[in-house]
């Protein structure tokens, strides 16, 4: 490497723009930071030598320069921004409304949004945020973050560590805030320094040359926040692995006890009760005209969680030990082991069981000749009444509908609209009579049945939809987010301010100052410091053109 020795004696790495020690512009390198024909020096990285600006020959150099360029970084951010916008034009796949003609994206988008919808679907915008190229974009931002941070952090750190209080005149006079004063008494300088000290500047003095500096740590803010972002992106990658993240959805009926999916049969849940509360319509506070509907104020499932003692013994009935009794509500999930249970959905008044009685078809009064009860989630194939009737459950449609062709089918497996085909065998008879039963219907297939089956009673229960999630990446996201916040606050709420006070051999006093942001603040500090002294207030050499 071709080190550069400055006239002050300091040895700088190749590519240095301003000497790390005295700040003297290094001849031949001024184009790097665009200082050539500018009055003021570019102070972004204190003129330190950055790899990306110095070596641009090999392919590695080129890739390095590419990713460390903020211009490229901004482009990547803008592309991600634009892609995000496109993703919100129409709903994403997972938000296709329940009442849509079809929840199949191939049909939905064209049906609802016409040709534009079709294009949206064909371009894959309906799953924008999980698309390959969106994720690639985020990955590129990640790479860019790592490289640009390394490219700048190390040289900036060097430059700030090696800086001296004595600066070259060319450096001072080309700072944005600068003044020259003559005939300054040492008392005035002391006053100036004391006042800066008062404003919590750290003073370094070397042979009468003075540097007052504060808030240097804020320079590391961007690097800290970029580390936070990198951790977040890494956590996002981790989350795609099943060990770190899993999620299941289950329906649990009131009174039901079942294994919790995704827990390797280790845990069981019992739904004791599902509660849906709506607001009190009589409440005087909420009598404004616009409130017509009921507002659901609480969704709650009271559950007991059990741990199985011997989950691995195949075939054995597990011994269940209750470990947690909890009321899961929205905004109040249940937690145990590494699992969290969220209240997610519900289904009110699902049929639990139906009881029937048999009577003589000709008997107007319908006197019961025998009763039986069908458990709708666990129907049996044959029921026998005390009076000796045998009822065969020939067909069961939990969620009955009639198709256009006239055949009965079940839309779902949930008993929402149960219907049955039963065959009734009177006592001591092998001749069965077929009936078709459902809510509000009782069809005699042949029209010659001697016995009729009628609904006696129906019991309902609610079903609760619960998400079971196990997410071990949360701490990573949290730590990443905290580091990001610390970094931005560090970089934004503090500023790195430096004031150089250099008395020259000819007894003139040069004062120059630089801050990375908030020039108003540093000007106020200096204004306060020069008050009551003969030192000339620094002049802002770069006011925006009037």
């Amino acid at each position: 490497m071709n080190k550069i020795k400055c006239e002050c004696g300091h040895i700088n790495p190749e590519g240095t723009v301003l000497c790390e020690a005295c700040g003297k512009p290094v001849e031949g390198n001024q184009h790097i930071d665009g200082n050539d024909d500018k009055k003021l020096l570019n102070m972004r990285y204190d003129g330190s030598a950055r790899r990306s600006q110095t070596y641009q020959k090999s392919i590695v150099d080129k890739i390095w320069s590419f990713f460390s360029s903020v211009k490229v970084g901004v482009w990547l951010i803008v592309l991600a921004l634009i892609a995000s916008i496109f993703g919100t034009i129409f709903p994403q796949e997972q938000f296709i409304p329940q009442d849509a003609v079809s929840r199949d994206p191939a049909i939905f988008y064209e049906d609802r949004y016409g040709i534009l919808g079709l294009m949206y679907y064909q371009l894959g915008f309906h799953h924008m945020y999980s698309s390959f190229w969106f994720i690639t974009l985020l990955a590129l931002i990640g790479i860019s973050l790592v490289i640009c941070s390394l490219d700048r952090f190390v040289p900036l750190y060097r430059a700030l560590r090696n800086q001296r209080a004595k600066k070259h005149k060319k450096f001072l006079s080309r700072q944005r805030l600068y003044s020259e004063s003559t005939n300054i008494h040492d008392n005035d300088i002391d006053k100036l320094v004391a006042s800066l000290k008062n404003s919590r500047y750290k003073i370094t003095e070397e042979n009468g040359y003075i540097l007052a500096e504060k808030g240097r740590f804020s320079r590391w803010g961007p690097y800290v926040n970029h580390i936070g972002l990198i951790i977040i992106l890494l956590a996002g990658i981790l989350r795609t692995t099943p060990i770190m993240f899993s999620e299941e959805y289950m329906w649990v009926r009131e009174g039901e006890q079942r294994v919790i999916p995704g827990t390797n049969n280790q845990y069981y849940i019992e739904n004791q009760e599902f509660i849906l509360e709506t607001h009190d319509q009589e409440d005087e506070r909420f009598q404004g005209g616009s409130l017509e509907e009921e507002i659901a104020t609480n969704f709650q499932t009271d559950v007991i969680i059990y741990e199985a003692e011997n989950p691995d013994v195949v075939g054995a009935e597990p011994e269940l030990e209750p470990i947690l009794e909890y009321s899961i509500q929205m905004n109040n999930p249940a937690k145990f082991d590494k699992y969290t249970l969220y209240q997610q959905g519900y289904q009110l008044n699902e049929f639990k069981n139906m009881s029937f009685y048999i009577h003589d078809a000709d008997d107007e009064a319908g006197e019961s000749l025998g009763t039986f009860t069908i458990d709708l989630t666990n129907p049996e194939s044959v029921y026998e009444t005390d009076s000796g009737f045998r009822v065969e459950l020939t067909n069961y449609y939990p969620d009955y509908v009639m198709t256009e062709e006239g055949t009965p089918v079940s839309e779902t497996d949930f008993p929402r609209n149960p219907a049955f085909v039963v065959t009734v065998y009177p006592p001591d008879s092998d001749e069965g009579e077929v009936s078709f039963l459902g809510i509000g219907m009782n069809i005699d297939a042949t029209g010659e049945n001697q016995y009729k089956v009628a609904i006696d009673d129906v019991e309902f229960r609610d079903v609760s939809g619960i998400t079971v999630s196990s997410d071990r990446t949360l701490p990573f996201f949290f730590v990443g987010a905290m580091i990001f916040m610390i970094g931005v606050i560090q970089g934004m709420y503090w500023q790195h301010r430096r004031v150089w006070i250099n008395k020259q051999k000819d007894n003139s006093l040069l004062v120059a100052a630089h801050t990375n942001k908030n020039w108003h603040g540093i000007k106020r500090d200096i204004e306060k410091a020069v008050e009551g002294t003969n030192v000339t207030m620094v002049k802002d050499q770069q006011e925006l053109d009037e």
Binding site: V70, L81, Y129, F286, G288, M485, H520
Partner: protein
């Protein structure tokens, strides 16, 4: 007086005080032309009045909280009012540091427009739906609003910078764009004006609409220019609609919303036109001389500073607190819901703003445009995403 009416009066008082304070700040820039960045008496009075107004708005906030039993940030009226309040707070903070009365002349009326805009939505108290019942609601919402309030100051400073700096001697693309931004503000005023007028006369037109075989009612409070699709007008003696909302607009409310937008354009354009007639110049050109006394450097710095301060606050409230709450409520800290995505877009945008400023030297005018666009994104998220794009967070 009941809590509810105390609360409403307190808000009204705050509203009036902000307008009064604007005049004092206006007086401050006339008062002495040389020392414009120093404290002036009128400026101090303006600040005091603003602070009293702010306190009155806090009274509104607290009394409404006690009355409804939950933090009043749960519907469009409450949230937007709160946003207006944080804009005022942000103004008070930035003003105490920079002491430019000019800022008050622009920031206060704009924040007041936001508060007036909020009051156009239903102000009725309503119970809190289950998904919002969490102490994260006030934490998340107040931080987001504060962040947006601070970013609002950057918009104000940016707008002032553009008005001051853009050449107005002849019509150019730049001053036309600027005029469009100003016209956009007039659309808000138009919306507020028509809504207030027709509310005052209790205007109502009812439609019966057929949706999926069901009959539902659609209530209009503005004369129907656009009627809902497949509807019959039930009310008598109201305006006959000119046309029906096109069928690619979905939702039961599409017709009414479209109608409101048409009216806002209509009224906003008329008010803008009248203002033009009176001033006999582009509004930007008319305002330009007013700003001669402020240094562009100062505006540039305020604009940048408020992004620097607002960006972390917005990130904390709009992304981090939002994610924590979503995790607790739904078991997923991020779901790509449109509202979330637009918060992310806002965040990306301001991140780009900061990087451009750092390395490409996008100061002054370019920064000014970015500040304006950034705030437009925030308003888009407040208005279009809430009212048009279906979202979990939809208020309406």
């Amino acid at each position: 007086m009941g809590l509810y009416s105390t609360s409403s009066s307190a808000l009204l008082i705050a509203f009036i005080l902000y307008l009064v304070a604007t005049f004092f700040f206006g007086g401050a820039i006339r008062q002495d032309k040389k020392e414009r960045h120093q404290k002036t008496k009128a400026g101090t009075i303006g600040l005091v009045i603003t602070i009293i107004g702010f306190i009155s708005q806090i009274v509104y906030f607290i009394t409404r909280w006690i009355y409804t039993g939950h933090a009043p940030v749960s519907n469009l009226f409450e949230f937007t009012t709160f946003l207006g309040m944080s804009m005022i707070l942000a103004f008070i903070i930035i003003y105490s540091y920079y002491k430019t009365a000019f800022l008050g002349v622009f920031a206060l009326p704009l924040a007041t427009i936001i508060i007036a805009y909020a009051s156009m939505f239903s102000t009725d108290a309503a119970p809190l739906v289950a998904s919002l019942q969490s102490y994260w609601l006030p934490i998340h919402v107040s931080t987001v609003a504060l962040g947006q309030g601070i970013l609002f100051i950057s918009f104000v400073a940016g707008l002032m910078y553009l008005i001051r700096q853009i050449d107005q001697t002849k019509l150019t693309l730049r001053n036309t764009m600027l005029e469009l931004v100003i016209y956009g503000i007039f659309l808000f005023i138009g919306f507020i004006a028509v809504t207030t007028i027709f509310n005052a006369v209790s205007y109502q037109a009812t439609f019966e609409v057929e949706r999926n075989g069901q009959q539902i009612m659609a209530e209009y409070h503005l004369p129907p220019i656009a009627e809902p699709q497949d509807s019959t007008l039930l009310s008598e003696n109201v305006m006959t609609p000119w046309f029906a909302a096109p069928d690619w607009m979905h939702g039961d409310e599409a017709g009414r919303k479209l109608n409101t937008v048409i009216w806002s354009f209509f009224a906003g354009t008329i008010i803008y036109g009248i203002t033009m007639l009176i001033s006999r110049k582009r509004i930007g050109k008319r305002l330009q001389p007013l700003l001669q006394g402020v240094k562009p450097d100062m505006l540039d710095e305020i604009m940048y500073r408020s992004v620097a301060i607002g960006f972390p606050v917005f990130t904390l409230g709009g992304l981090i607190f939002a994610a924590i709450w979503a995790q607790i409520a739904w078991g997923r800290f991020w779901g790509w819901d449109p509202k979330e995505v637009w918060a992310l877009i806002t965040w990306f945008f301001y991140a780009a703003f900061l990087h451009l400023r750092l390395s490409r030297g996008w100061h002054g005018e370019k920064s000014g445009w970015l500040a304006v666009v950034g705030f437009a994104i925030i308003m888009f998220n407040l208005i279009v995403v809430n009212l048009v794009l279906a979202s979990l967070h939809s208020y309406a």
